[in-house]
């Protein structure tokens, strides 16, 4: 690996853009993701910028148990994110459906059936620190040796 690639790997791991999408949760995880923005946890000190625009995102936080309203839409949203990209499932809902995975409900978990999920953060809801550490764990992986792999 060239020196240039090493520098690129380092610099890019400190500049990550995050978008979040709620595909049918109870809102509890959304507010814990928002709490990551607060000065106490301060996700931006690590160079991670949350601004919910899929077209410039590197990491997509998927929250919720996949409701019928998101069929086709989640896939097309995922396609709109430029490469390289990863998705992180936040909370129990995208992993198993949590309490909503019962007979007669309308949901269709897990989200991994619909888009590739790179990491999962269980919890109902997970604490902001757990979400933060998952994003930080993925940050160096997203862009690692991107040019080498592309070749």
């Amino acid at each position: 690996m060239s020196l240039l690639q090493k520098v690129k790997n380092f610099v890019r791991s400190k500049s990550i853009h995050v978008a979040y999408v709620d595909v049918g949760s109870c809102n509890g995880c959304d507010i814990e993701v928002l709490a990551c923005l607060s000065p106490r946890y301060d996700i931006e000190q690590y160079g991670i910028y949350v601004h919910n625009n899929p077209r410039e995102a590197d990491i997509l936080l998927v929250i919720g148990a996949y409701t019928p309203g998101w069929e086709e839409k989640l896939r097309s949203l995922w396609d709109k994110i430029p490469d390289p990209k990863v998705a992180i499932a936040i909370g129990n809902c995208p992993i198993s459906g949590c309490v909503f995975n019962r007979p007669h409900s309308l949901i269709d978990p897990p989200v991994a059936k619909h888009i590739p999920i790179a990491a999962q953060v269980p919890g109902c809801p997970p604490r902001p620190t757990e979400i933060l550490s998952a994003v930080l764990a993925m940050a160096p992986v997203v862009f690692k040796d991107y040019e080498v792999k592309k070749r």
């Binding site: 709620d22 109870c26 809102n27 995880c29 507010i31 709490a35 607060s38 106490r40 309203g69």
Partner: protein, 362 residues
């Protein structure tokens, strides 16, 4: 009459400023909004369908997960509906502790709503200040109930945990700090010239329109309808001598200021509860039985109603939930958004009515 519509602009479902997916379709002439329409259906999980036929012990946790932001009030209304079916008495200490936790939940919800608004009008500094204060409120919630969100604190016949004396001391100290900060930020919001430009006179909901649209909660109270507050009809709040506040303007500015005022009011209510907290048991016990009832409570966003029918074993045979946000979203789309001068104000007006899509669709 023929209308000139230039373009129909959809906003959402993924929008930089909105926490949850909803789609607002605006018919505009230039940037002037002629009419708006909301399209829901991104969050429909069918919670009421799951609830039917299940024992109350399970439905209790499902009811909390109707809405994660205002989970305490869903818990409280569901349990108090069960109590009113089966005539289960609540000890005085537990009744006051319920008010303490409910008001803490209201505070964090209102502060989050105001953060969203400040973020939407791109006053990020004030937004971050507010989010910092909210963490203090979440700390208190966690110290009392054991969880930040969805804490299942209220059970039939009482509450789960007692408030220890050292926790009460800590709560008082933290409330003093929160009050000081919120007063400061209210002043910043009140006197900020840029905030006034983006907020005053925008998205006006008159008293007549609010009544016609059945607006509830802070949205209605900002339009001069204090009588919509369900806390007036709650026995514990009546004992505490609660009187709602209201404003007359009905614009975005009034709705945000309304929430700031209610946060200060909640702090005063919690202090009164702590001062008058009697010694005694926190759980009286009691078994939910057969019956049906309709019960309402005041969620942070407005009136929340549960209709419940149970059998002798405490199974929920039928349940219907009416949440406040659906009325406020209607009021927002059909009255506030009409005549908004620019598209930037559409998202801020929508956020100022504090829509909670998760509990709207369930």
């Amino acid at each position: 009459m023929k209308r000139t519509v230039d373009v129909s602009i959809p906003l959402g479902p993924v929008h930089p400023c909105w926490k949850e997916p909803a789609r607002v379709k605006c018919e505009t002439r230039g940037e002037y909004v002629l009419s708006a329409e909301v399209e829901l259906g991104y969050m429909k999980k069918g919670i009421e369908r799951i609830m039917r036929g299940r024992p109350w012990q399970e439905v209790m946790f499902l009811a909390e997960r109707v809405c994660g932001i205002c989970s305490v009030i869903h818990n409280m209304v569901f349990i108090e509906a069960l109590e009113s079916i089966s005539n289960i008495p609540v000890p005085d200490r537990a009744a006051l502790l319920r008010v303490v936790v409910n008001e803490l939940d209201r505070m964090q919800s209102h502060i989050l709503a105001n953060f969203s608004y400040c973020y939407t009008i791109e006053h990020e500094t004030l937004g971050m200040y507010l989010l910092d204060v909210r963490e203090n409120v979440m700390d208190e919630l966690e110290r009392i109930t054991g969880a930040r969100v969805t804490c299942a604190y209220i059970v039939p016949g009482g509450v789960r945990f007692d408030l220890r004396d050292e926790d009460a001391l800590h709560l008082r100290a933290n409330l003093a700090a929160i009050e000081e900060e919120i007063t400061r930020y209210t002043g910043m919001f009140e006197n900020g010239p840029l905030i006034a430009l983006r907020s005053r006179g925008i998205g006006v909901l008159t008293r007549e329109a609010a009544r016609e649209a059945c607006a509830v909660g802070p949205t209605a109270r900002a339009s001069g309808m204090p009588e919509t507050d369900r806390r007036l009809r709650h026995p514990t709040y009546q004992k505490l001598g609660f009187t709602p506040v209201s404003r007359e303007e009905g614009d975005n500015y009034a709705r945000i200021m309304m929430r700031f005022q209610e946060v200060l009011q909640s702090i005063a209510l919690i202090r009164t509860c702590l001062d008058t907290l009697p010694e005694g048991p926190i759980r009286g016990g009691g078994i939910p039985g057969a019956g049906e009832t309709a019960y309402s409570g005041e969620a942070p966003r407005g009136e929340l109603s549960y209709f419940i029918k149970t059998d002798a074993a405490g199974r929920v045979l039928d349940i219907a939930i009416q949440t406040p946000s659906i009325m406020n979203i209607e009021a927002c789309c059909h009255y506030m958004l009409k005549g908004v001068a620019s598209l930037a104000d559409v998202s801020s007006t929508f956020v100022s009515s504090d829509p909670c899509i998760a509990c709207t669709e369930r």
